[in-house]
Amino acid sequence: MNENRHPIDDLFRDGLDQYSVEPPMHVWERIDQTRTPVYKLINNFKQNARWYMSLAAGLVLISSAAILILKDGKIDDHALSQTQAVNEAPAPEAPSGSAGKSEEAPSITDLQAENQSFQSEASTNQLPATTNPFRAELPTRASNATPQNRASEETPQEMAPQEEPSKTELAQNGTNVTPPKEQEKVDVPEQMENNEQIVEEVQGEEIPEVTEDPLVKSSEEANDPQPEKAQQPVVNPPITPSPWSVEILGSYDFVNRHFQGGNPAYRNARNKYEKVGAAYTFQMRAEYRFNRILSVRSGLSFSQIHENLNFNYTSPDQINVYQKTGYIIDPINGPQKITYEVKDTMPGSTTTFRSSNSYTFLDIPILLNYHMYTTNKWDLGLSGGPVFNLAFRQRGQIVNPSVTDVIKLNGASNPYKGYAGLNVMFNLTASYKLDKHFDLLFEPGLRFGVTSLTNSSFGMTQKYNSYNLFTGVRYNF
């Protein structure tokens, strides 16, 4: 390299190698701010924001999957509760002449114990196994709901009185089966009469249509002689819908930007050279309905606001004054050394700055929803609550406070925070039921910025208020 040295290189190297310029004090102040633990924490969050966002998205997916799985479990639980309701229904008292073992209705614990015992026997007898043990349990319980049934297969002589169909069943089925004469003697007419009375009373009322019960079906299929239990008029509780639903919404936003504090000339310049453009929001929320009128919603909200910078700056003419040394020829005294000033005027130049800026927010809204008006198809509600910011990112350039240059938003002079703080949101939600699961959503709303987006040292606060018009769908579990 040395062989290629040039006098110009030497001149500038020697002249500038030890050159020093005193930096302004605010540079150290900004450096000092970054040494605080809070700043380091925020900076660490900024650097790992993608991981956190991925984690949040993963949690939402897992939660959604869990809700779907729980939904299936809920159906099974319901069927099980129906089965238990039948099993726990008061059984008619056993005939007085029957064996002592069957005088009292077995408890549910006994039934389950017997059921397990029977299942183990069934498995040893190579009965067809069902892959879902939860579902397999239901027909097993139904067809073998009582120990008497099991006993009837093993010791029919003991269970003969229990296998006798009651008059109630006969009356209901309309089957003319003549009971054995022995049973006519053994069965107590009082009990039968009571049962008939019950049946009449029940038939007299408007009995809700009994849903297809796997227990009853199984009993019929298995020709299970358990008429007393299978034919009890059990009124199933209505199947309540899940309180959970998920919503996906999108909105084109009309944004209003507010500045406060600072130099009015600077505020005017910002408004003049930076114009708010398109803005939109996407939300993915879960809703939990406490009761008919109250629900809570929360999830992730992604918003982006675009602005366009178009700024022309014309610098003033630059006048450089140099001290020069020269000689003048004095006719009397000869050459005289003098020092004089030279003014070098550089005309001002116009610089154009153009930039497409974007402000991106990742938020968690927590909204309480009041359902004001509900019909079979429509639901109208008012919701409101805080919106907590997870991350706030900026891109582009803004005019600098002296209105002579721009500040790059990806540089160290970026006046915006990495965390946008708190917003408040109010929505009017109208939903239209499309089918059993899906609702169409229309949701106009307002969102107000509470905390400033700029650092306190910037001297001027900046907030956004937006008017949203969400449309989306809701899936009810």
Binding site: F12, N320, K324
Partner: protein, 181 residues
């Protein structure tokens, strides 16, 4: 405070030591940053980011070279990172070959540091970075090519053009005096 004490204080994240270190080197480093930056504000940004890196990584300084050289290298790397990020297009300007003449040291010595700095700052972006790296930082063309992701030939060409451009400016500066006379 001795340099070793300053370094140890900065490793302990002692604010007084950090400030003392900043006061010691910030002037020279701002001059370095200004040679690479387009504007003074950008130079301050580079200085700020560079000193944050210095404080974050001061424990990694092994003492193999001078501490000032280590800090200067961080500043230059920070400036180059910004340069690559902004990916300035190298401006093509007309250079008259008549200006490619050797200058006498006696004439050149008369220029002040401020004038020299202004000339370097006025260099077109592509020329500026190559000239700074080669003439002042002492990089070879191979290192410059590797750092900037350009060919060695491009680096040589940019350097030659930078020299011509600076010569022109130096001569213009001298001519002002001649015209006065």
């Amino acid at each position: 405070m001795r340099e070793e004490e300053l370094i140890n204080g900065c490793i302990r994240e002692d604010r007084a030591s950090q400030y003392a270190l900043y006061k010691t080197y910030s002037g020279k480093m701002l001059a370095v940053c200004r040679r690479y930056a387009r504007t003074d504000l950008e130079a301050e940004d580079i200085l700020q980011e560079g000193f944050i890196k210095v404080f974050d990584n001061v424990s990694k300084f092994r003492g193999n070279g001078s501490f000032e050289g280590w800090i200067r290298r961080i500043m230059v790397n920070t400036a180059l990172k910004l340069y690559r990020k902004n990916s300035f297009k190298n401006e093509v300007i007309g250079i008259d070959d008549n200006y490619d003449m050797p200058q006498e040291a006696t004439v050149l010595d008369k220029l002040s540091q401020g004038e020299l700095m202004r000339m370097v700052q006025d260099l077109p972006e592509g020329y500026k970075v190559v000239f700074n790296l080669y003439a002042i930082e002492g990089f070879s063309h191979a290192e410059i090519a590797d750092t900037l992701g350009v060919n060695e030939g491009t680096s040589r060409s940019q350097l030659a053009k930078a020299r011509k451009w600076l010569q022109k400016k130096v001569i213009e500066s001298q001519n002002i005096e001649y015209e006065r006379k």
